[in-house]
């Protein structure tokens, strides 16, 4: 596609050279370092107590020691900010600088601009997360001295894949806002508003809606089930919920289900950790939802951008 590589190369170069990227990178790196360091310290105590299955390596990323959240939680919390920071002035910034007409007067398809930016963003996010994960893995390994099993490595790779999609969702949302709004301040604020809503308010709203539509009746346990299921379904609109459920399932092989588990389901259950394939099956719907939310945002952005009239 004419122009795609050129835009991609330039955007990548811009991303890595920008102060914005450096700040984001430093932020996640510091968060990760502190989380992993404290996790490694407390890992000895946590392993001996709870389940004897091991998976020590993965605990480096999932264990939260008291005050500090785990690396997974940090990514869940800060990842959106990274995504928003990368995309919020993608298109309206070009208008503001007066570069868009000039760039588009060259023999490239208009798609190339938006595709190139998106791909460069995803590539940057991937590089950043993989680099940080490797550093943290190295640090953790050095501290606990137990090498990972192949299953753990695959799970970690999958986790990174999910984290990239998660951050990419926020980036595509930010790009959408940068196309809808002329001012980058507006698109940044819209992105942050969405983030606050989906991070902090969604659980409250889910609970309230569930209470309104499926009130819990102490006599009838079925109402409790309906209530919980509905609340969880609403909460799953939020990409943060999707990420959390997916990440914990992938990184913690003992996770089998979410929400209420009936006693009848527990009878005959083989008490062992799930293999990777089964873990994936558990969260397949969440993964699909996350990917599709990202693609929907990108699709709307694409459609809008292609129809805009470019006037310097």
């Amino acid at each position: 596609m004419p122009g795609l590589l050129a835009v991609f190369r330039k955007e990548m170069a811009d991303n890595f050279a920008s102060r914005r990227f450096l700040i984001m990178f430093a932020l996640i790196m510091l968060a990760g370092l502190s989380a992993t360091y404290t996790a490694a310290q407390s890992i000895r105590s946590s392993v001996s107590e709870s389940d004897p299955w091991g998976f020590v390596f993965l605990r480096l990323f999932t264990v939260s020691s008291g005050t500090l959240p785990s690396f997974v939680a940090f990514v869940g919390f800060l990842g959106p900010l990274v995504g928003l920071a990368m995309g919020f002035d993608a298109i309206n910034g070009e208008y503001a600088r007066g570069t868009l007409s000039r760039v588009l007067s060259n023999p490239i398809y208009r798609d190339s601009v938006i595709n190139g930016k998106f791909l460069a963003g995803v590539a940057t996010i991937t590089t950043m997360l993989v680099a940080i994960a490797l550093v943290l893995a190295g640090l953790g390994l050095r501290m606990i001295g137990i090498p990972p099993t192949p299953d753990e490595i695959y799970r970690l790779v999958f986790f990174l894949f999910i984290a990239v999609i998660y951050v990419a969702f926020w980036m595509s949302l930010a790009i959408l806002f940068s196309i809808l709004f002329r001012q980058s301040a507006t698109s940044a604020l819209a992105g942050i508003a969405f983030w606050i809503f989906f991070t902090f308010f969604i659980s409250m709203i889910a609970a309230t809606l569930a209470q309104a539509l499926f009130p819990v009746n102490q006599q009838d346990p079925q109402t409790l089930v309906d209530n919980t299921n509905f609340a969880m379904a609403v909460a799953r609109i939020s990409p943060m919920t999707l990420y959390q459920e997916t990440a914990t399932t992938i990184l913690d092989p003992s996770t089998r289900a979410f929400g209420l588990v009936k006693l009848t389901e527990l009878i005959g259950m083989v008490a062992s950790p799930l293999p990777l394939g089964q873990s994936l099956l558990v969260v397949w719907p969440q993964l699909v939802a996350l990917v599709s939310e990202t693609l929907i945002c990108f699709g709307i952005s694409y459609a809008r951008f292609m129809r805009q009239e470019i006037r310097a």
Binding site: V7, R97, S105, N106, P107
Partner: protein, 314 residues
């Protein structure tokens, strides 16, 4: 390939409507290869919209726009390969150097780096920015940016260059440089230039032909002389002559010249009302009589007067 000039830019009943508002109304334009054509008109006349349609950046409501035979809407890439566009308020990436900005343009045009680098150096030298090639564009002045814009436009070695208000906001020295660069493009590189502006004096200096745009319609088109004749049609031309000394004999001689209807004396200047352009004869008569000719000026053909008149009439 025949030797005659080909049509570089052509529009056929080109129209653009935004809801009720007609921005461009059945425009018929023909620009030959190698010309410098000026699009004159006030703000909001439809010049930029026309340019955007020619480049394929906006879709016309009806009609056709063609550049060297390529339809702008159907073959936008083909058009963009041969047309360079310098928008008004041209923007560059402020954090990148001049050279890096031009390299990006070269990359977008699929020009390999080993070809692009020497070409960029040559262009930067030509526009006088070679010494600041590695400086960030954020530090450039407006005049420097405009010149960089010219270099940018020439990176792809276009056959047509479209300039939207290229001299706006530039100091007189910079304006002269810009106009020289534009003329050089036309003469040296044989590039067809379409220039849109409302700064008439400058347009007058370099354009072969002009088209006057008012409210989406082109109300007049042609060489400046032709336009003058059109507007004056019927009304006599006025030639201002300053000579010394002014003798009655000279006045009588001038009166007798074919093409001169009357001679008026105003404060030491002679105003000759003519219905033909006989400036050559006037000059010869004055000099032949022994007087010295200090000024000979054709009044009423200044573009501004033409422009204002059309404006008033429409």
């Amino acid at each position: 390939m025949d030797e005659r000039s080909r049509i570089a830019i052509e529009t056929v009943d080109l129209t653009k409507k935004y809801g009720e508002l007609t921005a461009v109304n059945k425009l018929n334009l023909r620009i030959s290869e190698g010309e410098i054509f000026g699009l004159l008109g006030p703000n909001g006349a439809g010049k930029t919209t026309t340019i955007l349609m020619l480049l394929g950046l906006t879709e016309p409501t009806s009609g056709k726009a063609r550049v060297f035979g390529h339809d702008s809407t159907r073959e936008p890439l083909a058009v963009k390969r041969i047309v360079g566009y310098l928008p008004d308020n041209v923007g560059f990436y402020e954090d990148l150097t001049a050279r890096e900005n031009l390299l990006y343009t070269a990359d977008l045009n699929g020009i390999p780096k080993n070809v692009a680098l020497p070409r960029i150096d040559e262009l930067l030298l030509r526009v006088g920015l070679l010494d600041v090639a590695d400086k960030e564009v954020g530090k450039f002045s407006r005049g420097m940016r405009q010149r960089l814009g010219i270099a940018d436009v020439l990176v792809k070695q276009p056959r047509v260059v479209i300039l939207d208000e290229p001299t706006l906001g530039i100091d007189p020295d910079g304006v002269k440089q810009m106009l020289d660069l534009i003329v050089q493009m036309s003469k040296q590189d044989r590039i067809t230039v379409l220039l849109s502006s409302h700064l008439l004096h400058q347009v007058q200096q370099i354009c072969n032909r002009v088209g006057i745009f008012v409210k989406g319609r082109m109300v007049a088109e042609g060489t400046i002389e032709m336009l003058g004749l059109q507007i004056m049609g019927g009304e006599p031309m006025v030639v201002e002559v300053e000579t010394s000394p002014v003798t009655d004999e000279l006045v009588a001689d001038l009166q007798k010249l074919p093409g001169v209807s009357s001679v008026e004396r105003v404060n030491g200047t002679l105003l000759l009302h003519c219905f033909k352009d006989v400036r050559g004869d006037i000059a010869r008569t004055v000099v032949g009589s022994g007087s010295s000719l200090t000024q000979l000026r054709l009044r009423g053909h200044v573009l501004e007067e033409i422009y204002l008149r059309y404006f008033r009439e429409s």
